[in-house]
C-alpha cells in the first residue's frame, strides 16, 4: 500500500517496548515480545512475563495468521479516517489466541464477514516525521 493512498490515522507513540510491533511490518513481519522459558507471548508488552514472572524476554515473529473474534462496521465519522463505513475488528493470533489485536478488517465485503473466519495480516505504511509506522490490518485468508 503506497503511503499516499492511506487514510489519516493517529499513530502510536513509539517506545523501545513497542517499536518492533509497530515497525516490523516494513519487512512484512508481525512481532511480539515472548518469554523464553515458558513461551508466552506478551501483549501489550511488559517487562516481566505474567505467566512465570521471568525476565528472559525477546521479540519474535509470528505467522501473521489470526481468527476473527468480533467486529463492528462503523458508520460514524468520529474523526478523520478511512472512508465510511469501515470495519473495526478484534482478531486472535493463531500462535496464542489469548493475544488479541484491535484492528481493521480490510479487503472483505461486509456481508461476507463471519466471526471465526481465518484472517492474515496486511500492513498499512504511514511515513511520518515522528517515525514511520506499519499498522497491522487483517484481510480474509481466502482472498489470496
Amino acid at each position: 500500500m503506497a503511503a499516499t493512498d492511506v487514510p489519516f490515522r493517529i499513530l502510536p507513540a513509539l517506545t523501545d517496548w513497542n517499536r518492533e510491533f509497530w515497525t516490523a511490518g516494513e519487512r512484512g513481519e508481525l512481532r511480539f515480545w515472548r518469554c523464553g522459558p515458558c513461551g508466552y507471548y506478551l501483549h501489550p508488552p511488559q517487562p516481566i512475563c505474567p505467566q512465570c514472572h521471568g525476565k528472559d524476554l525477546a521479540v519474535e515473529s509470528v505467522s501473521g495468521r489470526a481468527t476473527l473474534a468480533s467486529f463492528s462496521v462503523n458508520h460514524q465519522a468520529w474523526m478523520p479516517g478511512p472512508d465510511l463505513p469501515y470495519v473495526v475488528a478484534i482478531v486472535e493470533i493463531v500462535e496464542q489466541p489469548s493475544v488479541r489485536l484491535t484492528t481493521n478488517l480490510v479487503n472483505c465485503a461486509h456481508d461476507a464477514i463471519r466471526i471465526g473466519m481465518p484472517v492474515r495480516v496486511v500492513f498499512e505504511h504511514h511515513a511520518d516525521p515522528g517515525g514511520d509506522v506499519w499498522l497491522p490490518l487483517f484481510e480474509p485468508e481466502a482472498s489470496a
Binding site: R9, P12, S70, S72, H75, I90, S98, T102, I115
Partner: protein, 402 residues
C-alpha cells in the same frame, strides 16, 4: 458492634437520601452549581445538615478530558461546602461509577465516617456543543499527536469510541446466542416509554420498533437509539451507617450485598470472554454475599450507556439465563413498570440522560421510597438491584428496604 471475618460488612451501610440537579441536554448553567444543587438536595432529603456530612466520595475525580465528563472533584465539593471529613475518595480506577458508592459503604461500615456524600456530575451536553460526541475524540484534529496507553491499541485503527469497543462485545453475543437487533430494541423502547413519564427525561417523544429499526446506524449492531444521550446534570446520594440512619427522614435502604470483582484481564480487548464483561464477576460475587436469590429481585436499574450493556448486566446478575437476555426482553412486557422485572424506570441514560451511573442508583431509591409519581412501579419494591459500568469497570449493589 462486633466484627467477624465472615460478616458481610456492607450491610452496616444504607442509602439515606438522594438529590439531583436540573437535568437537560444543554442547560448552560455553571456545572459546579449543578453539582452543589444535587449535593445539598441529597443532604436535605436525608434529613441531615451539611455539618453532619463527614465523608465524601465521587467518580471519577477531576478530569478535563473528555469535555464535560467531570464537573467537580472531591476537593472541589469539600471546599465549596467547607466539609470536615473523616474519609474521602475520588477516582476513576474502581468498580465503575458505583465503585465510589461501594467504597463509601465500606468507609461507614469501618467507622471512618457516619454519613458520606457521594456524587457524580457531568456537563457533556454543554461541553460537546452542537458538534456532539465526535468533537470529544482525542487528537481528532490531527497534527503530531501520538497515542499511548490503551489508546495506543485502538486509535491507530480509527476506533476512538467506546461505542465501537462495546459494539464488538454485542456482536460476539449476537453470534454466540442468536441475539437480534429486534430484541435489543426493547431496551431502547422501554427506556423511552419510561422517560415519557419522567419530568426530567430528555427524549420524551414516542419511539416505535420501526423508528428504532430505521434509525441511523452508528457502529453495528448499534444504531443511534442504542447510544445514550450526553447531558448536563448532577446526582448525589448519602451513604450512612445504618445505626445512624434509623431515626432520619427516610426508611433506610440497606445495602444487602455489593459486587466489585474483576477476574479477567482488566482490558477492553484482552478480556477472556468477548460475550460478557467484568460484570460477569461483579454479578457473581454479589450473590456470594447474600442468602437472597435473583428471583427475589423486584426491580433492576442497570447501565445503558449502550443498550446491550443492560442485557449483559441482566445475565451477569442471573436475572435471566446467560445468553437469554434477548428472549427475556422481547416484547417489553417483562421489563415494563408493571412487569416482573421493571427496568430503568426513569428512562435510563438512553432517553433520561447520561448522568453516568448514579442516575440508576437515584432511581432505585426513588422507586423504593415511592417517590416516582407517574412512573412509580405499581407494586411495593422491597428488593432492588442497581448496576453500572461496562468493560473493565463494573459494580453493582443489592438494596433492601429495612
Amino acid at each position: 458492634m462486633t466484627s467477624t471475618a465472615n460478616e458481610i460488612i456492607e450491610r452496616r451501610a444504607c442509602i439515606s437520601g438522594i438529590g439531583q440537579s436540573d437535568v437537560g441536554r444543554r442547560l448552560g448553567r455553571d456545572p459546579m452549581e449543578l453539582t452543589l444543587d444535587a449535593c445539598l438536595g441529597a443532604i436535605e432529603h436525608a434529613g441531615l445538615t451539611v455539618a453532619d456530612i463527614d465523608g465524601l466520595s465521587t467518580y471519577p475525580g477531576p478530569m478535563t478530558s473528555p469535555p464535560g465528563f467531570s464537573a467537580a472533584g472531591a476537593y472541589d465539593v469539600m471546599d465549596a461546602l467547607r466539609l470536615n471529613v473523616g474519609w474521602y475518595n475520588g477516582g476513576l480506577e474502581t468498580s465503575g461509577q458505583l465503585g465510589s458508592v461501594i467504597n463509601a459503604c465500606l468507609a461507614v461500615a469501618s467507622g471512618l465516617a457516619n454519613h458520606v456524600l457521594c456524587f457524580r456530575s457531568v456537563f457533556e451536553g454543554s461541553a460537546q456543543g452542537v458538534k456532539g460526541r465526535a468533537s470529544s475524540m482525542p487528537g481528532g484534529g490531527g497534527g503530531s499527536f501520538r497515542a499511548s496507553g490503551f489508546m495506543e491499541w485502538t486509535l491507530p485503527f480509527s476506533a476512538p469510541s467506546a461505542a465501537i469497543w462495546i459494539a464488538m462485545f454485542a456482536q460476539r453475543h449476537f453470534h454466540e446466542y442468536g441475539t437480534t437487533r429486534e430484541q435489543m430494541a426493547w431496551i431502547a423502547i422501554n427506556a423511552r416509554r419510561n422517560a415519557q413519564v419522567n419530568p426530567k427525561g430528555i427524549y420524551r417523544d414516542p419511539m416505535s420498533m420501526d423508528d428504532y429499526l430505521n434509525a441511523r446506524m452508528i457502529t453495528t449492531p448499534f444504531c443511534l437509539y442504542d447510544c445514550d444521550v450526553p447531558c448536563d446534570g448532577a446526582t448525589a446520594v448519602i451513604v450512612s451507617r445504618i445505626d445512624r440512619a434509623r431515626d432520619l427522614r427516610n426508611r433506610p435502604l440497606r445495602v444487602e450485598a455489593v459486587g466489585s470483582a474483576i477476574h479477567g484481564r482488566p482490558s477492553w480487548d484482552q478480556f477472556d470472554d468477548l460475550s460478557t464483561m467484568a460484570n460477569r464477576d461483579a454479578g457473581a460475587q454479589l450473590w456470594t454475599r447474600t442468602d437472597l436469590r435473583p428471583s427475589d429481585v423486584q426491580m433492576l436499574q442497570a447501565y445503558d450507556g449502550f443498550s446491550w450493556l443492560t442485557m449483559s448486566w441482566m445475565e451477569a446478575l442471573g436475572l435471566c439465563e446467560v445468553g437469554g437476555s434477548g428472549p427475556f426482553i422481547e416484547g417489553g412486557e417483562r421489563i415494563a413498570r408493571d412487569g416482573i422485572l421493571p427496568l430503568n424506570t426513569h428512562g435510563g441514560q438512553l432517553s433520561g440522560g447520561r448522568l453516568h451511573g448514579y442516575g440508576f442508583l437515584h432511581e432505585a431509591a426513588v422507586q423504593m421510597w415511592g417517590e416516582g409519581g407517574e412512573r412509580q412501579i405499581p407494586r411495593d419494591v422491597e428488593v432492588g438491584a442497581v448496576a453500572a459500568g461496562g468493560g473493565n469497570t463494573c459494580g453493582c449493589l443489592l438494596l433492601v428496604k429495612e
